[in-house]
């Protein structure tokens, strides 16, 4: 198992804030909108530098999605910012009709996704957003793993023409990918090559997968760890190649099993390469209040859960 160095610890939402500022400087068509969560979304720096390219919409997310869709008529590239729950479930029909079906170039940027939102509890901890968004035809769905990657993804989606859902989170977590990396939408990133099991992880679970990789290595198990930052379009070739090599698969995500990354990979494998599969994800349950670490442990979204899933899936290999 390769040693992965932690550069520092930062929140992924701050990566979004820095990326937005940077793309704002190089692309005058980038416009930002927020529904009363400027501080939480780390949009202050953009607003300070480009006050005329920012719209404070107030607590009216449906209106924000419509306005964003309208701004594209006129050549702008709007980035909406609010919590993941209010970016998806609350405004699903607005996104479906005015953005996805209308094929508008809107970037839906969603913070505080999943359990790691923490103490605010289940009302705010959406675990269904990836599924909601990936079901929409033409929608690109991205869930980067750390600060540097979120920043790079924010810059990359401005150059991509078409609607995008970009998901990130609240807590401070290890930042371990390269600064100023080039982010390729739809391209899986192999963090560690291995031969016994393929671990496909997304978002905050990528670091947990790396931690699991170290534990598995001590047990003499060689894990291939792949960061699937783009849920849609899925890097089918990379996933199938790895699964063909190792013969079994673990998926890991901060999301419901239903509709998440694991579900997408299960479909891909079932159609092309039936393989033993274990999913590390929330199992048809809402979240609750608690610290992020407590919640990730209680709901089985940590390194130990990935290790257990890996052992189980390896034992299922024929």
């Amino acid at each position: 198992m390769k040693n992965i160095e932690i550069l520092n610890k930062k929140d992924t939402r701050s990566g979004f804030g820095e990326g937005l500022l940077e793309i704002g400087r190089s692309n005058p068509k980038v416009i930002a909108l927020c529904a009363d969560l400027v501080g939480s979304l780390k949009m202050d720096a953009f607003i300070k530098e480009f006050p005329s390219r920012f719209y404070q919409v107030g607590i009216a997310e449906a209106n924000m999605m419509g306005i964003a869709a309208g701004l594209t008529v006129g050549g702008y590239v709007p980035f909406t910012g609010t919590f993941a729950n209010f970016s998806t479930g609350r405004v699903y029909d607005q996104i479906r009709q005015s953005i996805a079906y209308s094929n508008k170039n809107v970037k839906i940027c969603a913070s505080h996704a999943g359990l790691t939102l923490g103490e605010d509890g289940a009302t705010h901890q959406i675990l269904e957003d990836l599924g909601l968004m990936k079901m929409l035809p033409g929608m690109t769905v991205i869930n980067p793993c750390d600060f540097n990657q979120t920043k790079a993804a924010t810059i990359a989606i401005a150059e991509h023409v078409g609607p995008v859902y970009l998901r990130f989170g609240r807590p401070v977590v290890p930042n371990f990918t390269l600064p100023n990396q080039k982010f390729e939408i739809g391209k899986a990133w192999t963090i560690n090559e291995g031969s016994d099991v393929s671990i496909f992880a997304t978002g905050h679970l990528v670091w947990k997968a790396i931690e699991a990789g170290y534990i598995l290595a001590e047990k003499g198990i060689s894990a291939e760890i792949i960061n699937i930052h783009t849920i849609k379009p899925l890097d089918n070739a990379a996933i199938l190649n790895s699964a063909r090599k190792t013969g079994c698969v673990v998926t890991a995500e901060e999301h419901q099993k239903n509709g998440g990354l694991g579900d997408s990979i299960a479909q891909l494998l079932a159609e092309n390469l039936p393989s033993p599969l274990e999913m590390v994800a929330v199992n048809d349950s809402f979240g609750e209040s608690g610290t992020p670490d407590q919640l990730m442990e209680k709901y089985g979204l940590n390194a130990a859960a990935i290790v257990d899933a890996s052992m189980r899936v390896i034992s299922r290999k024929k």
Binding site: G58, A69, G70, L71, G74, Q97, Y101
Partner: protein, 281 residues
Amino acid sequence: MKTLEELNAISSQVRRDIVRMVHAVNSGHPGASLGCTEFFVSLYFKVLQHNSKKFEMDGIGEDLFFLSNGHISPVFYSVLARSGYFAVEELNTFRKINTRLQGHPTTHEHLPGVRMSSGSLGQGMSVAIGAALAKKQNNDDRWVFSLHGDGELQEGQIWEAAMFASAKNVDNLISTIDVNGQQIDGSTKQVLDLGNLRLKFEAFGWLVLECDGNNLADLNSTLDGAKEKSKNGKPICILMKTNMGNGVDFMMGSHKWHGVAPNDEQLKVALAQNEETLGDY
């Protein structure tokens, strides 16, 4: 510039298109389409500065129109075709498989003249605001128009948008409400009373105008007047009273023709009441 007589002649043809389109597929929404015929004719043949020969999605330097109550697509399609966005023969494909003229308007099939999908109600005012803000960002001094059903005002998003438009001085926006007093389940009064719409929009900070939506002279002067009164810090709302089913006597004033097509016999009666002025498609 079209004369009132010419606009009336176009309206008659558009009404024929509407009833023929919905009759051909035994589906669609003739009632409010007929009620809004004069509005669309006034807008597309007199008020809007637009380029129907070379459709550009961004519409820089053009007036833009967004139809929020997308179910009245028959009148929208007829007027788009009659003003030159696409061939009138294409009206024959309305609601048929592989058509660009979907049941509700969409950008998905790249039909010239359509800039936003609509049908799920309540979304068009937000979109029109976005387009109006883009015009301001682009230093484009043209206007953005939108049309909404009165029943549609029961959707909460409309009022989010209404609050935003005045708070942020979106004063290049002219939103018209088709006040026909009818919706699917009955009159708006019975279903969910809208109350005093003038006072509501004024309380939300809009400049409110009123007009007779079945009178072309009144429409022309109200829509042009709205342009003159705009750009003074407030968005403009036009409460446009219409008669649902206008121009076809047996359809007039009833919610029953909201989404029902005429049969063969009824079609004959409807066509007899509206002269063929520009040639049927």
